[in-house]
């Protein structure tokens, strides 16, 4: 479905991503893990068109994505959230989601009324329906993360890129968020998620890719990757490995 080949992105002299290649198959949940600064968010920015590549190519269903502006990538059916939430602060929760519905993939001529009813469905799915008429300012952090997901879902994506939607949530909230991800996935949406919470990665991911210093370090099922010596050295640490096996 999505294919990255030799993706390279430099900021000045620093190579944030060098020669990263992998594919995402339709229907899977792919985890993207790695230490801070590994290039995970940069990779999402490259896919969604926020950054231009310095090398390599990205194709989505056979169409080249690199070089396209973000709005065209969105309309092809790729939705994303931001690690640091970026809500439309003066709008209500419902209006936030409606913007996604109004402009997303294949929605070019959706009338505002239809967009709002689709927004309501999406808010129901992520559990924000009761707060639809509140402004964003009165939402808690977990709710703001849900709103990010709702807005991206409202664009009717076929591929959803989630950037640390569970960071900063307490264990109960993480469970709720996991449920939400499973529900979204059950709706037929392919998911790529960046996550530091290993419980999430093991819990929902079919496959995991580890990035380290802008490079593709390892790839495999969650169990394989978490036992990989290189991954333990670069990211998880000996204590984590000991705990898992101890």
């Amino acid at each position: 479905m999505l294919e990255l080949a030799g993706v390279t992105k430099r900021f000045g002299g620093v190579a944030a991503l060098s020669n990263v290649s992998f594919t995402v198959a339709e229907g899977e949940i792919l985890g993207l893990i790695g230490p801070n600064g590994a290039g995970k968010t940069t990779l999402l920015n490259c896919i969604s068109g926020v950054y231009r590549l310095d090398g390599g190519s990205i194709t989505f269903d056979g169409r080249r994505l690199d070089g396209l502006p973000p709005h065209q990538v969105a309309r092809l059916g790729i939705g994303r959230t931001f690690q640091v939430v970026k809500p439309f602060a003066s709008m209500t929760v419902r209006e936030n989601a409606a913007v996604g519905a109004l402009f997303g993939s294949g929605q070019a001529h959706l009338a505002p009324k239809a967009a709002f009813s689709w927004a309501d469905e999406v808010l129901e799915l992520v559990g924000l329906a009761r707060k639809a008429r509140l402004t964003v300012g009165s939402l808690t952090i977990p709710d703001r993360k849900r709103l990010e997901v709702a807005r991206a879902l409202a664009t009717k994506p076929r591929l959803l890129l989630l950037d640390e939607v569970m960071a900063g949530l307490n264990p109960v909230e993480v469970d709720e968020a996991l449920d939400m991800v499973r529900k979204v996935h059950a709706g037929g949406i392919t998911i790529v998620l960046i996550e530091h919470v290993m419980r999430v990665v093991v819990g929902v991911c079919d496959r995991v890719i580890v990035l380290h210093m802008g490079q593709h370090l390892a790839e495999g099922t969650p169990d394989e990757v978490l036992q990989d010596r290189r991954v333990i050295e670069a990211y998880l640490g000996e204590k984590y490995a000991a705990r898992r096996h101890g």
């Binding site: 926020v50 973000p70 969105a74 439309f88 003066s90 913007v99 509140l134 402004t135």
Partner: protein
């Protein structure tokens, strides 16, 4: 707190009060709209009868003039609101579009001997085309960089036109005078003001409007949701330019003499922004209310030497007070969600008394 506390549905008495205010407002609008017709008719009658010539005539003319000027600023402030209020790009050079519209009409009527009726429709087109042209590079800038770039553009356009002999150079242009047309100019300006409000209303209800507000709130998020940010920003800029250019075109014929100083005044940039912000940037009627009140204040205070200085000082203080205490404008103060608004006060009274 219950769900009802967040309800925006007005209570029954609230609705009755609102209806009364609306009717009173409509009455005022009718009087304001009809007044110029009767006043200029009296003036025309007075013109025929030399014995009554004098003070009444002058007063009537000046009332119509005041109303026309206010209508012009309503259009300018409402047009600025499209790019500055809805889209959140603080354009400081909209006077360039006003001047371009004015010079389009001036050039076509004076140098090309086209009639005013034929020349006027071209004014908004020229202004919008220019906005489209400069909008593509300028709207890549954000915040004060954009403000300064537009300010510079506004000044530059005036200077360039002043130095082109085709456009009359420093002498200016003289559209042929239309006699007894005071009422016509008022109605043209008022129609343009009305058009600006209707356009804003349509934009705010549309997909286009949601896109603009999304850009204002977070441009990056808007773009990954599918908003073509460049096209939308340039579109809003061109729409604002068209309405501003139309006002300039009407102004050129109304004043029957234009030069760089009269149609590229830098203070218009500041005034239209002040009006929109004080009234409530990003709202439908805020810029209208701001323009009426402020321009009326400016016209009535700036009569003599010393009072003009006080008027300027007063405007400055007013802006500071507005931005600090009611940043979302006067319209928000009366009905809105601001904690300093009367609406908030009323709601909290109701909640605590129950």
């Amino acid at each position: 707190m219950s769900e009802a506390a967040f309800s925006t549905q007005p209570s029954r008495t609230g609705r009755r009060i609102r209806r009364a205010i609306l009717i009173a407002f409509l009455l005022v609008v009718v009087v304001v709209l009809v007044l110029p017709l009767t006043l200029t008719q009296q003036a025309a009658d007075a013109n025929l009868d030399p014995t009554t010539l004098g003070i009444d005539f002058a007063i009537n003319k000046s009332i119509v003039r005041t109303e026309t000027t206010i209508a012009m600023f309503v259009a300018l402030a409402a047009a600025w609101n499209l790019i500055g209020g809805l889209t959140g790009y603080a354009a400081f050079g909209n006077v360039a579009f006003f001047g371009l519209g004015a010079y389009t009409v001036g050039f076509l009527t004076d140098k090309q001997h086209l009639s005013f009726a034929l020349a006027l429709p071209l004014a908004p087109l020229v202004a919008a085309a220019f906005a489209g042209l400069i909008g593509v590079p300028l709207l890549r800038l954000r915040g004060h960089y954009f403000a300064i770039a537009t300010l510079g553009t506004g000044v530059a356009v005036g200077e360039v036109i002043k130095n082109l002999d085709v456009f009359g150079g420093a002498t200016g242009l003289f559209p042929p005078i239309l006699r007894h047309a005071d009422a016509l100019f008022f109605y043209l300006m008022a129609a343009n003001a009305g058009l600006a409000v209707v356009v804003t209303w349509l934009v705010m209800r549309s997909r286009f409007g949601y896109g603009l507000i999304a850009i204002r709130e977070n441009e990056e998020a808007a773009s990954v949701l599918g908003v073509n940010t460049t096209a939308y920003k340039v579109g809003a800029f061109a729409l604002a330019a068209a309405l501003t250019g139309l006002a300039g075109g009407i102004f050129a014929q109304w004043s029957s003499f234009i030069d760089q100083e009269s149609v590229f005044p830098i203070q218009y940039n500041v005034q239209m922004i002040l009006m929109a912000i004080i009234g409530g940037a990003g709202t439908l009627f805020g810029p209208v209310a701001g323009a009426i009140v402020l321009e009326w204040l400016i016209l009535s205070l700036a009569g003599g030497g010393a009072s003009a200085v006080y008027a300027q000082m007063g405007l400055g203080v007013l802006l500071a007070v507005t931005v600090i205490f009611v940043p979302r404008g006067v319209v928000d103060f009366f009905g809105g969600s601001s904690k300093l608004s009367l609406g908030y006060f009323r709601r909290s009274l109701r909640e605590t008394s129950v």
